[in-house]
Assembly symmetry: D2
Homo-oligomer: 447 residues x 4
């Protein structure tokens, strides 16, 4: 690193998020000596790549920078001698996400594109593609860092670490930063004055908050949250947690905990939305269509305001900050997906975990947390097993392992319903599941 | 041990199982120099104690033995200088079990007196009583061994080990011996020719089977089971497991796994039974009433045939065999609930686990198994966390911890339904939950 | 913390190091709102306390600060409401250190005031005194942080954590900073550009070095060291390590490793010095006497140049920096003695280790390192066992445990020589070993 | 197993121990349906093989058995379809052992053919040969069990498990049985009445003793040992341990602990013997020469009395009993070298350890022991690291790793003396160290 000229490659460059990423780089122009940005996409995404790529070029030019922005469908050309590679792809596009959510809900089961049945299928579709990219990286840019923010980010990181045996990967998610911003505000503190110790898995993490006098403010944040949730009439989307249970945790949960702690209510809410209107995937699709219309405007030279409605706030900011922290050996404390190595003694040594880490030029160093209490330990352990099974099924295409992952997942009812759902989803996604090809063919024959 | 005269104390001596236990001792008269058997019960069970105690006396006399059989309501008198104490009590009697099963089912939730909501409440009622007995033992017979077969046997053992800090306890269950007998028969082998390595928790264990040539027969047993379940038309009670999933486990599950692996079907089956006829608890109650009628017959001098319909086959045989193995330092291999100490590296070092152990005069020594695969690890870990929370709630009476145990339990739907169920059960069982007294009073006030 | 007024207490305030500490505080006057500094000593050290305390007052005044400097023999008065307490005491003064070194050497055994027989006795004398101070702190200033730089710093920290059950302690040593400064210079880098990952125990640590491009420079530092040690004619004090062995380590050793890796040469060297001139303790004593002469000069208003000859460079700088990092929640990366909690999976979870940590207002958070290779693991494990035995003997006064610590220590020959040495040292130090009183009396009787 | 005809192969069949092994098989003729015994040796041992092989044939014939005894130099022919393979070889013969002991002693260092410098070189010579045999077994008799009693048995087992990745190996030693027999006698008990829990490494194990009432007799055995060692005037060979230290251990040490706990005295004793007379190796050599003279007598048809003077009592008995226990799925409790798998949580999961195990047809299952106390933990951990380094050096021929093993070994003084000794021994043994060939050539050039 600390080369004079940095080459950055973004795979899935045609994503609607790209303008935010470009904005993040521009904001850090003084700390990142970028020379080239390569936006890569696949044939299917060519049109979007053109639209968003041209906006990126206008943004860079408008900022008075001499960075070269390349648009390409040739991944290998792009990867050659890259310094940082970011992945923000969606195998099967939003159409696949719609299936991930709709099919489970039609069985009365949570879809949920990261933790539930949908998340398992996203992993099945995504992991083989990412491992392929990593093979290219090993050949074409073995010293580059891979910044993955493709979901399910935890499982993707685990697959890269344990199957590709590639260590220079950081999995990122905007969840933790969202908590940091919101909770700081709730207790009227500046985020910089606080130390947040996050531990767990991607989309299943808990945290403690300390102030700059060393006081544990976790309970104070809980007070503020429960006060707040009583005061305001919250939308259904923000179902209030059960207070006694959360207080018993001793740590603050993340938003995704509602799926685990309030499964019943979440299923009902999603089914209601599903019947009434549309899934999250469909909402996102509409927002995206509108965004690309805006992006086409040749006068647009900055990230449009509307992008914030897409969700994923702070996403690109984290990605750019990770890149800058590695490049500049900042020693900044950030929450990332990385190898455990004992930081959480209750999870396997080699597992990918999401944890507050010290980011250096030689990668993230997780900050030791130690033993988890019973109320946290069991859930994070069962989900890690589920992740391992999912990753294994994704790389082997083994049906029994896939079924086991479904059974293990606390968000999927056990029994034949799990099997029916698995079968239906395998058939629905067959175009993006080459490793399961034979299994699916057998299944279709017997229909 | 190896004293010339053994004093045995059975707490809950008025149980319908007692004749089987007495039969087991009589069968081992040559290896157990028994001098006294004390059957202890509480005021509520006085009548049954009389009936079953007199049968016990007739059985001993009929066998030509000079053992003294005492019936008493004075537990402390009985415990004085005891060598072995067995506990087979049911706090709140079958009436409590009926509530444990009926209340959850009325919410569409599994009752299940050991693993589900019912099991948690059985633990809440039972653990404080057992810990009290252990305090008496520390004072009156500190060198005696406690053979606990009161359910939930795993959690009771964990409470004794980790809260009473009393090490001379063995938790026993007839589940494993049932598997050993049935599976040996299925593959036409003599149980003595096979080595069964059981690991896990009480009512949640897995096992591997080896023959006397060292071959791993686990797959052969699976073949036989799936062959068998296709051949015969099985009753609903024996729902067939999903073959691909079980084969992927690499180990044989236990009967209780149906609750976890086929949750959906099990709930439906139980609700159907619940509506149509009666719960397991109610069936048992009728069988028991009939048994006590038989026991009254002064001409009856042996265990009646009908006892076998009560369930719990081999129970007393295991208890007597454990006592004999400890007394005679047999080095026999049996499956018991005991402290982990590294035998299963994926569970806490101090946890109570159910495992194939070498039984010596200095207690059970678990036979090391090592790491569990992902498909087993997650479930056993989440249940151990649930057990820890349940035991903690049972000894503290803390509402938040109790709620956490409900939420953690994979057999109880998460969300407000868990809380409602918890509250309803607390109120229903209030007479047997002195530690939760204040919590329940507050709850009743707000109704 | 972040109180407007900080009260700092230094126990052993009459130490020759105190001027350096005062200088460190003065240097940080803008980040540390100090209001009071209490220098505490015992009757025996009263004269030195006066001398050094008056110099401290002149230094503060000369810096134009309004901090109040108190000199006292009343520890409890000083501790009341303290914010930071530092301990730099020497039970038995330098006279004890001279015995620690002379007695072993007279048997042909390394003395070594931290790792060898001398270190064990320093622990025996010091730990009970420190635990007493901690008891006072629990009562008088329970929220204060204890910054311990009394040797053996690792064992003292372990005793405080595991016997006093007091968590707000940081053990510090100037060893790591010495390596950081020297090695940076050797490879012509600025220390700020490098990341040093130190792991191990106090006076027995290893480290890896990374540059700000993420490259592992450990081998480059080795190259420079071995190049350097060939080039220059090194004094005996800097015995060259065996190159093949060090390279096989994969990590850089610390200076104290010579005792373990070159035991034979080190013994010979020390015996030679012992015969020819004097021990390290005696050299230090002369330097100290000279220093106190200088300190008496009422015109001296700053730390005299000669203090640097005393050894212990950077000591006070680290102590002051730790205090500032905690007070200001700096998140600085420093090497400290703190509780392991999984950062080194090969050492006990609760052990005190010396490790690169992230320093926050809520204390040091060790940066996870993971598994150690065979070449490092064994030595650090045997020394941790030795430390545990030493600490246990120090708090119990048990002779067998003390003997076991001697036998376990790789720097003390096993066999009766260990026992003879132990006995001789117990008698020599009896005035400072109240817990061993009975043992020593028995011993003296049998002489 | 449980085949009708068992084929046994003994590699190193020309050993003086073979008659004892044959006697062991004859004694178990009713439980072992042996059909063929193959005695294999190398060209150098041809003459001894003839002598001892013919005695074996006479013994079998005299016992009225129809077993076929084959003598061969063709290892691969012998291994074809074997059921059990035992290895009792000595690479370099006794001449090498003499060097292993003489060279270190000439530097004032313990030789010791298993734990010290001699043991490291025995590992260097032996491990590559054994791994070669294992490769043949994988091809020619993959289902056979390898019973290794070639020293250093622990390191050889570790090499087979972790480098050959071959699981069907049991390492055996006669040390534990010796303790069992002697200590039972000391406390006037029958060994069958006691339970010995051995844990540790080969030639470095500790144990606890329980009687058949479950009482821990460890202290009683210590009493008897110290009583006994005071009463009788013991020979130098039985240096008394230091009582306070041993009592502090809480477990009984093994004979080899004298090397670690009384290093100083042991070195002196060995040097004295070395100067006065001869090493253990040389004594053994004379005994062996006499034995082979006896074996030649065609009228000798049984194991001669004089073999007991050779040492290694019970050796063949253990080997035969292991074979019978595996073959007959006996479930017998024996002490063997096998994979840890969590039985000792303080040693690596995959390490070979020596531990009381339950022997079944599917191999030894270690009986969980749990955590070790500080006084035991450190020594066993440093020796396991030393073993790992030794095994790694043996399979790689890496000089730095070999030097590291020397430095780590507590029986070898650290410093240049270790290096000089290593170098001298490498040159002395060069004919049997093909993997170190280049290293040695370089070394010789620079002489």
């Amino acid at each position: 690193m600390r080369r004079d000229k940095i080459k950055i490659v973004t795979i899935g460059g045609g994503s609607s998020y790209t303008p935010e990423l470009i904005e993040g780089f521009i904001k850090r122009k003084d700390e990142l000596p970028i020379s080239e940005i390569w936006l890569v996409d696949i044939e299917e995404g060519k049109e979007k790549l053109e639209i968003v790529g041209n906006l990126a070029k206008r943004m860079v030019e408008d900022a008075g920078l001499d960075w070269k922005v390349y648009l390409t469908l040739d991944r290998r050309e792009a990867l050659k001698d890259a310094d940082f590679v970011s992945t923000q792809l969606r195998v099967g596009l939003l159409a696949a996400r719609i299936k991930d959510e709709r099919i489970p809900l039609s069985h009365g089961v949570l879809g949920q594109e990261t933790n539930g049945a949908g998340g398992i299928f996203k992993a099945f579709r995504t992991i083989p593609v990412i491992l392929d990219i990593v093979e290219d990286m090993k050949e074409l840019c073995p010293n580059a860092w891979l910044i993955n923010f493709t979901n399910p980010a935890g499982m993707v990181t685990e697959a890269i670490l344990n199957y590709s045996k590639f260590e220079k990967v950081v999995g990122v998610c905007n969840g933790p930063i969202g908590h940091i911003m919101e909770e700081s505000k709730l207790i009227n503190k500046n985020p910089d004055e606080l130390f947040f110790h996050f531990i767990g898995l991607n989309h299943l993490h808990w945290h403690k908050v300390y102030d700059n006098e060393g006081n544990d403010l976790t309970t104070n944040v809980m007070d503020a949250i429960f006060e707040d949730s009583k005061k305001e009439k919250r939308s259904l989307n923000e179902l209030p947690f059960m207070e006694e249970q959360i207080r018993n945790l001793g740590m603050l949960p993340c938003g995704y905990h509602r799926y685990y702690y309030l499964t019943d209510e979440m299923v009902k809410k999603e089914i209601k939305e599903f019947n009434a209107t549309s899934t999250r995937a469909e909402v996102v699709k509409r927002v995206e269509d509108e965004l690309f219309e805006l992006y086409k405007d040749v006068n647009l030279k900055e990230k449009p305001e509307q992008l914030s409605r897409r969700g994923g706030a702070y996403y690109s900011d984290i990605a750019c900050e990770i890149i800058s922290s590695i490049h500049n050996n900042k020693g900044k404390v950030m929450v990332v997906n990385t190898r455990n190595k004992g930081a959480l003694t209750d999870l396997p040594y080699d597992a990918s975990i999401e944890i507050t880490s010290h980011i250096t030029a030689s990668g993230p160093k997780p900050i030791t947390y130690g033993k988890l209490n019973s109320a946290i330990r069991g859930l994070v352990q069962v989900m890690k097993s589920m992740e391992e099974l999912t990753v294994e099924a994704a790389v082997t295409g083994d049906y029994g392992t896939a079924l086991q992952a479904f059974i293990m997942n606390p968000l999927i009812p056990s029994g034949n319903i799990a099997k029916q759902l698995l079968d239906e989803m395998l058939i629905a996604h067959k175009d993006y599941l080459p490793l399961f090809k034979v299994v699916i063919q057998e299944m279709e024959k017997s229909l």
